[in-house]
């Protein structure tokens, strides 16, 4: 049987490209491509996690003292916001699979709002650190370092800014991708037989969430 495209949505067949035999093959190929990209992302962030492990194993006391300078409450709130955005993104995929256009638009808007809130809180944290002089190694100018108590704390903040900064850049890229989905979903492009872009952007968004799931305890909590 041929699944009906819900009223008001563009037929899925208009997005079929000729080099795929079936819509399902096109969907599976797109997903495999996204997973291959996610593999490179895991390796990309993996390098920074190795840097974290090396510096921490060399100077565990520096990491313990410096982690206390981060605001655990803001980190925890951002974790909850990102988890919520993962829920709304997963729900957006569900809506697109069921042809629920209004639900899809709503879920994408909620995901975008959560992404901007996350960046806003990150901005508050960054500006606080900027004023305190808790910066990366070459720029670390806090009073604490003069006492020697937090000697080499700049090493910790180098790792902190590299990891959270790269993560924030990924959030920005995600915002762009989700905005593109929003535009296409309002144009009625997605239907039960064509939702690959929603699914693959969702996978990317969940990976960004996965990275934060490890960053939060490693940077904010352990100490």
């Amino acid at each position: 049987m041929i699944a009906e495209t819900p009223a008001g949505l563009r037929p899925a067949s208009s997005f079929r490209v000729h080099h795929f035999e079936t819509a399902e093959q096109q969907y599976a190929a797109g997903k495999l491509g996204m997973w291959l990209f996610l593999v490179t992302e895991v390796l990309f962030f993996g390098g920074l996690f190795v840097a974290y492990a090396v510096f921490r194993s060399l100077h565990p006391e520096v990491f313990v003292n410096s982690a206390a300078l981060l605001d655990t409450k803001l980190g925890a709130v951002n974790t909850v916001i990102l988890l919520f955005s993962s829920l709304t993104m997963a729900w957006a995929v569900r809506c697109s699979q069921l042809g629920q256009q209004r639900g899809l638009v709503l879920c994408l808007c909620l995901t975008l709002a959560a992404a901007f809130t996350f960046l806003g809180i990150k901005g508050v944290e960054y500006s606080h650190k900027w004023h305190e002089g808790h910066l990366w190694a070459s720029q670390y100018v806090s009073e604490d370092s003069a006492t020697g108590e937090f000697d080499r704390a700049g090493t910790f903040f180098s790792v902190y800014f590299a990891m959270t900064g790269l993560h924030a850049i990924h959030i920005l890229a995600g915002i762009g991708a989700i905005a593109w989905l929003l535009k296409r979903s309002m144009a009625g492009h997605f239907s039960p037989n064509y939702f690959t872009p929603v699914d693959t952007v969702g996978l990317y968004w969940h990976l960004v969430d996965l990275v934060w799931i490890f960053l939060f305890p490693l940077l904010y909590l352990i100490g």
């Binding site: 049987m1 997973w35 895991v42 829920l87 969430d209 305890p217 909590l221």
Partner: protein
């Protein structure tokens, strides 16, 4: 099956909300666990909780439980490579650091200074 039909698992609202609730509970647990007086074990406790959270996200939000196993294998291979990178680098650092520190501070010549 029609050429135009795509079959994929659709998550139920109960499942999505259940996973979200579990992720929130585990976030609370990891914040609480950070206050336990367990010394250096805290890294392993935090990583274990994060690992459970990551598995939930990968299996349910990323649909790996219902997906073509190739996609899940790709993720597992990439994590295995990161683990290999991590373990070899850490063992190398641990072996070499005592030798480097025994050699004392390194004096780096300023470029151009030696010709003056």
């Amino acid at each position: 099956m029609s050429d135009e039909t795509v079959h994929a698992h659709v998550s139920s609202p109960a499942q999505l909300i259940g996973i979200f609730a579990a992720l929130l509970a585990l976030t609370g647990l990891t914040v609480w666990a950070a206050t336990w007086p367990v010394g250096h074990l805290d890294v392993w406790i935090a990583l274990s909780i994060a690992g459970v959270k990551a598995t939930l996200v990968a299996l349910y939000f990323m649909h790996l439980k219902y997906d073509n196993p190739t996609n899940g294998l790709l993720l597992i291979f990439s994590l295995a490579v990161v683990l290999l990178f991590l373990s070899v680098t850490l063992s190398d650092v641990r072996q070499l650091v005592p030798e480097v520190e025994a050699a004392g501070p390194v004096r780096v010549p300023i470029r151009g200074a030696e010709s003056q």
